[in-house]
Amino acid sequence: MTDWNAMSDADFRKEVRGFFEAEYPEELRHLPHRPKFAEIEHWHRKLHAKGWVAPAWPAEYGGMGLNAAKLLIFYEEQQRWGVNRGRDMGVQMVGPLIIKFGTPDQKEYWLPRILSCEDIWCQGYSEPGAGSDLANLRTRAESDGDDFVINGQKIWTTMAHDATHIFMLVRTDPDAPKKQQGISFLLAPMDQPGVEVRTITTLSGETEFCEVFFDNARTPRENLVGELNKGWTMAKALLSFERIFIGSPSLAQNALGQLESFARGRGAFDDPVFRDRFAQAALDVEDHAALYARFADQLKRGETLGADVSMLKIWVTECFQRITELMIEAAGPDGGTIGPLQVGNVSVDVLSSFYKARPTTIYGGSNEIQRNILSKAVLGLPG
């Protein structure tokens, strides 16, 4: 077993970069959509054989056991090479919760199946009436003999139509005094009569989001993770690392690179107004990266991140949107055209970038919610 954390940052980066560059299938680089598992299965097998499916998990559970510093490098290299995250909900969300709160039996059963993608997971958190106000969720799970019986509806469930299992927050005590109480964390199989999945067509015409309906669906009681009615606290405990990851500069950096080659090809830089707007965007990305590095250094020193890390997400997602808007501007009369636009030997899908940028200010806690959090937790504003 390699102790990756004992390596120097530079050596580790070289190792990761070398593997991606040598082994990652060219046709999967910078995929513009979320793939179904079948599309990336050959890559997943390589990653699994290498033991690199779960970089953050402890080695004893089949992970790489990376510390925060190495983990950031791993993700930076992944994004740099355009390596698809794959169907990583199991690895990113379910696994860590089972590792932290699960029973020995749950660990033994579920963790290897997550690594091998024998089970493919989707996340059932949001509901029609519980978006930013997630604790308002209403999907019920009631005890019935050895099972829980589930009724209700989840929405924005990414790739639910290509998942075998769902992990969800469900209401198990409707009479709890606060709505954050009475919520539990439950695992359930998708392949059963009481579960119906409908895809949602997005603005860009893709179908990566779904609605999931539960009509007396069942899951064995042993699929409750952690204590009954303690799901809210558990789910929140997981978000700390996610919050820097969601504010990473890579999406905006990649978009800026595309904008630059596209604008150059189109001669947009001849226009001094466009040049200035490009310079603004480029400097917004550069200075964001400096702020990101400050938080990353905090993690690398072993410190926990405070609520202030949310500012990364606010800045970078809004910046990402401005960059994709500049692409449309540079496209001129082609700004409404679907599909890749060819400029010299560069091909840029302007609309797809634009659409991709839209939900970034909505998901992972909308930017308005992030501002609420910052104003209270960081600035100490009342009310």
Binding site: E76, D287, M311, L379, P382, G383
Partner: protein, 374 residues
């Protein structure tokens, strides 16, 4: 490249430097001093200059063998941020970036070096000229037979300086000369700035001056010193912005309307968050740019980094100081509240050596040139 991949300066030294500069300014009265000095005519405090010199402030970027602290531009930025926080009118960035920036590179053995580092003298730097349309123009001020003829504009610190370092043209190319304040044939027109300070318009008619350096190095060195000063002015704006934000945050927590602190209203909260984020991005971006300048020798790359810093700092300071006035409401428009002093200082520092639009243009051009060269 992330920050930890590159060689970092000694963060602990910088922290100590920041602490001692902050203590020094706060003991002297913080931003109250700025108001007092403005009301007294817009000069600076000679005693404060002496104290700053004792703390080593002016020699912070001068190599140790030449009598300085040898700590680099990042350390200069730390001091400039502290100057900005209390909007101190003393010519710290001028002396560290321009006056000593020129002398330490062109004539490190000149006696004036020690006087500047020791706070015994302040030398303003006269290098820009005003054209017929009022904007900047090509240099035409001449130095012949030991005498200066012509004019210089936008001379910061002209009102209190003991002398002027003048970049002029001669038969042997560009020269750096020193003219004493009050020399024959020198007239100084003071133009009052928003913060109460004065910028000088100098005119020379046969003004005697001492030659300090000449030849091809003068232009290149001037450009380098201007880069340093631009970056330090950016750092000063970062410190200014941070403090302006803190004052505003305190205000919205205490000012009540509709029986509540106005900071409990969501629209105010979101605006405050945006200012905070802008501030943090500016601090990180500017500090990173100064740190990178310390490790960079290519003048074009250093110029690009200086422009990156100033562009960000001006954008942030503009947004923060103007929104600060709005969030203060009517009292923000009075002279009585300190927040106005920050707005006025930001106006002056933004215009000096180029604002954000100007520096984005330079940044873009430098980037294109570097790209083409690769």
């Amino acid at each position: 490249m992330t920050q930890s991949d590159k060689p970092s300066g000694d963060q602990e030294d910088l922290r100590l430097l920041r602490e001692s500069a902050r203590t020094l300014f706060e003991r002297a009265g913080g931003s109250k001093r700025a108001r007092t000095l403005r009301d007294a005519g817009g000069g600076w405090d000679a005693d404060m200059i002496r104290k700053l010199a004792e703390a080593g402030v002016f020699g912070v970027t001068v190599p140790e063998e030449d009598g300085g602290l040898g700590m680099g531009l990042a350390a200069g930025g730390v001091i400039a941020e502290e100057v900005g926080r209390v909007i101190a009118p003393e010519p710290v960035v001028l002396t560290v970036g321009l006056s000593l920036g020129l002398l330490r590179r062109l004539c490190p053995n000149d006696a004036r070096m020690a006087q500047l580092i020791g706070g015994e003298t302040v030398l303003a730097v006269a290098w820009q000229e005003r054209g017929p349309n009022g904007g900047p123009a090509e240099a035409s001020c001449r130095y012949e037979n030991g005498k200066l003829t012509g004019g210089k504009a936008w001379v910061v610190g002209a009102a209190g300086a003991q002398g002027f370092l003048v970049v002029a043209e001669s038969d042997n190319g560009p020269v750096l000369v020193l003219a004493e304040a009050g020399a024959d044939g020198l007239s100084v027109e003071e133009r009052r700035q928003a913060d109460g300070s004065a910028m000088g318009e100098l005119s020379f008619s046969g003004t005697p001056a001492e030659e300090l350096a000449s030849g091809g190095a003068v232009q290149g060195t001037l450009a380098e010193a201007v880069n340093d000063t631009t970056a330090l002015a950016a750092a000063e704006l970062v410190g200014l912005s941070e403090r302006a934000f803190e004052i505003t945050l305190e205000y919205i927590k205490t000012r009540e309307q509709f029986d509540k602190p106005i900071g409990s209203f969501q629209v105010i909260q979101h605006r405050a968050v945006d200012l905070n984020v802008m501030c943090e991005v500016a601090q990180s971006g500017v500090r990173e740019a100064l740190g990178l300048m310390d490790g960079e020798t290519d003048p074009k790359a250093r110029a690009r980094l200086a422009s990156r810093a100033k562009a960000r700092a001006v954008t942030a300071a503009r947004k923060i100081t103007r929104d600060a006035i709005q969030l203060h409401g009517a009292v923000g428009y009075t002279d009585e509240y300190d927040i106005g002093l920050y707005l006025n200082r930001a106006l002056v520092l933004s215009a000096w050596l180029g604002d954000d639009a100007y520096h984005r243009r330079l940044w873009f051009e430098a980037r294109e040139e570097e790209g083409a060269a690769q």
